[in-house]
Symmetry: C2
Subunit: 336 residues, 2 copies
DNA sequence: CGTCCGGATTGAATTGTTTCAATCCGTTCG
DNA sequence: CGAACGGATTGAAACAATTCAATCCGGACG
C-alpha cells in the first residue's frame, strides 16, 4: 500500500510538502498542491491513522461502553453521543459490557491500549473500581446515567430517585396500596435509586416499606421480565400494581400477565422506565418514566470533549443531573 | 506516559525482552519475566496499539456499518458479529450510515484510514459504488443482508423474495385480495426483493400486480410507519391487508390504525418483517417474517475473518443465502 | 582445553506520519 | 549591488512498538 513517501517521489516533492498538502493546503503553492493531489489520486494513497496517532499520542476516537445495546435507551444515548462527537470530527466506538465487570474491564483495557481520547461509560458496578486505572492514567472519562462517586470525573445522570417517586406516586394516587418492584442487578445504582424513590412515594402516602414487594431479576431484558411476571402471578396476596426498573422488563411482565389472562390495567397496573419507542406501541401502551437519553448522550460527549481538549488544567469536573418525566398511558389505572 | 523503553530501563533489560515478555512470555526466563512484569506494574505501562498497528500494517478491529442501530434487527446482527469477532480476539466498531450514501462514504473512508482488518457493510445503495475503492485496495469486506453484486466480495443475505412470498402468500391464503406494501427507500435491494416476492405470491393466486398497492416511505422507522398508516387510511378502496417492509414500519402503521379506530386484524391485517423482539409484545402481536439476524452477523464476521487471514490467496468469495421463516400472530387473519 | 550448540538477550532497523528548524530562492529596499 | 525579508520547501527527528540477525553465555562433548 502506498505511503506518503511514494506520493512524495511520484510528485517530485518532499514528504513534508505532501503532509502540508493534506493538513494545511493553503500553505502550499497551487501548482505544487495540484501535482501532489494528482499523485495521491494516481497511487490511491490513504493516510494511515495509526501513524498519525502514534505521533499525536492519542486517537481521534471516543469510546462508549454501555450495559446493553439491545436496550433502545442505550441506543438513544449512543445517538446523542455520536452526533456530538462527529460535530467535533471524532469517531465513536460503541461497546457492550453486558453488565459484566470482566467484560467491562476487558474493554477498558482495550480503550487504554487504543489511546482513545476519552471514554463514556455506564459502569457495571456501583463502585466503579474498573475506572481507577483511568483516573491514574489521566484518561478523560465521563460517567453516563450515573452520579459521580468521586471528584475524579464528570457525570451525567437522571434523577432516578425522583423517577421512582413519579412512578410510584402516580400508582399510589391512583389508589394502589401494594406495589411490586421488578428490579435488576442490585449493584446498579439506578436500580437502588428508583427503589428509594418508590419507597419515598409510599412513605408520603403513609405506607411502609412492606407495601413494596421486590421481585429481583439479574438481567434487564424482556425475557427477564417474563420470568418476573411469572413470579408475580405466584404472589399471595398479589400486588395490584407493578413498577419495573425498565421498559424491557415491563414489556416482559406485560406479556406474562397477558398470557395468563390477567387484565392490564384492571387487575394489575404497570409502570415502566425509560419510555423507549416501543413502550407506546405495546399490547397495552405503557405508562413510563421518560429519560432524556439523547440529551444525556450528547451532554456526556460534550463534557468529555471539554475535558479532553483542556490543555491548561482549567477543566473542572461537573455532575449534571437531568430530570425525568412521567408519561401516563393505558397500562396504569386505579385498582379494582 | 510510560513506554516500552521506560519499562526496559526500569527492569534493566532491553526493549526486545520487554516485547517478548508481552507477546511470547514462554521465551523469557521466569525471573527476567517477573522483573519485567514488576516494572510494567510499577510504571503503569499500557502498550500502544497504534505503534503495534503501524508496524503490523493493519489494526485488530473489524468495522460494521449498518443502516440504523435504532432497528433491533441490526442490533442482532451486531451481536452475532461481535461474538464471532471476540472469539478471534478482534474488536468491532459499529457505525450507522443512516441510509445516507454520503455518511456511508465518510465512514468507509474512516475505516480505510484506520486500516481496519475488514468491513461488514449493509450498503445504503443498490450499486455498492462506495465499495469500489475497497475492492481496489484489497480491503476485505463482506456484504450483509445483501446479495453480492460482483465476484469481488463475500455476502450473507436472507432470501427476501421468499420472505415476501411467505408474507403475502399467508395473507392471500387467508382470503385477502388487495394488499398494501409499505416499502422503504427504493434503492434498497431488500425492499425490491420483498416486493417481488409479494407480487409472485399474488400471481400464484391469479392476482395481478394491481392487487399490490405500494405506499412508499423514505425511512424505515416507527415514525415513517405512522405516516404510512395515515396514508393507508386515505386510500379508496382501502386494502384489507398491509405488508410492511420491516417491523418498525408495521408498529407505526399499527399505531396509526389503532388511533383511527380501525381494528386489527378484523378490518386490516398486518404482516411485518424481521420479527424483532418487540413484534411479539405489540398492541396486537405482529405476524412477521423472522430473519436469522444473529446468525447472519456471525457468518458475515466469520467470512470476513477467513478472507482477512488468507495469506496464500486460497480464499474464494462466497455468497450465503439464509432462509426466512413466517411467524404467525394475531395481527393477520381473514378479511371481513 | 577448545569448539560447538542452543537458548536467552540485545539492539538496530523498520513502520508512516507530523513537526520544525534549516534552507532555498525571488523580491524589495537601502 | 548587497542585505534583509518572507514564503515555499526540505529533510531529519520523534513517536512506540515489533522483529530479527547478532551476540552472549553456560554446558556438553571431542
Amino acid at each position: 500500500m502506498a505511503g506518503i513517501k511514494d506520493v512524495a517521489r511520484q510528485a517530485g516533492v518532499s514528504v513534508g510538502t505532501v503532509s502540508n498538502v493534506i493538513n494545511r493546503p493553503e500553505a502550499v503553492l497551487p501548482d505544487t498542491r495540484a501535482r501532489v493531489l494528482a499523485a495521491i489520486e494516481e497511487l490511491g494513497y490513504v493516510r494511515s491513522e495509526s501513524a498519525r496517532q502514534l505521533r499525536a499520542g492519542r486517537s481521534r476516537i471516543m469510546a462508549l461502553l454501555v450495559l446493553d445495546m439491545g436496550n433502545p435507551f442505550f441506543v438513544d444515548i449512543a445517538r446523542g453521543a455520536e452526533r456530538a462527537a462527529r460535530e467535533a470530527g471524532l469517531g465513536v466506538m460503541v461497546c457492550n459490557s453486558g453488565q459484566s465487570q470482566e467484560e467491562e474491564a476487558e474493554y477498558l483495557g482495550l480503550f487504554a491500549e487504543q489511546r482513545v481520547c476519552g471514554v463514556l461509560v455506564t459502569p457495571a458496578d456501583a463502585t466503579g473500581g474498573n475506572l481507577e486505572a483511568f483516573a491514574r492514567h489521566r484518561i478523560p472519562h465521563v460517567l453516563v446515567d450515573r452520579v459521580a462517586s468521586s471528584k475524579d470525573s464528570c457525570a451525567v445522570s437522571v434523577d432516578d430517585v425522583r423517577g421512582g417517586m413519579l412512578a410510584v406516586g402516580h400508582l399510589v394516587s391512583a389508589g394502589h396500596r401494594s406495589v411490586a418492584y421488578v428490579s435488576g442487578p442490585g449493584d446498579l445504582h439506578q436500580i437502588r435509586d428508583r427503589r428509594e424513590g418508590a419507597l419515598a412515594a409510599l412513605a408520603e402516602a403513609g405506607l411502609g416499606p412492606e407495601a413494596l414487594v421486590e421481585i429481583p431479576s439479574d438481567r434487564l431484558d424482556v425475557a427477564a421480565g417474563r420470568d418476573a411476571g411469572a413470579r408475580l402471578l405466584g404472589l399471595v396476596p398479589r400486588p395490584t400494581a407493578v413498577f419495573c426498573a425498565n421498559d424491557l422488563l415491563a414489556l416482559g411482565v406485560l406479556q406474562s400477565l397477558y398470557a395468563a389472562g390477567v387484565r392490564v390495567p384492571q387487575d394489575v397496573a404497570i409502570v415502566g422506565y425509560d419510555d423507549i419507542e416501543f413502550a407506546a406501541a405495546a399490547a397495552v401502551p405503557l405508562t413510563s418514566v421518560r429519560q432524556p437519553a439523547v440529551v444525556m448522550g450528547r451532554m456526556a460527549a460534550e463534557l468529555l470533549l471539554e475535558e479532553a481538549e483542556d490543555e491548561d488544567g482549567s477543566h473542572r469536573h461537573r455532575s449534571v443531573v437531568l430530570q425525568p418525566e412521567l408519561v401516563v398511558r393505558a397500562s396504569s389505572a386505579a385498582p379494582r
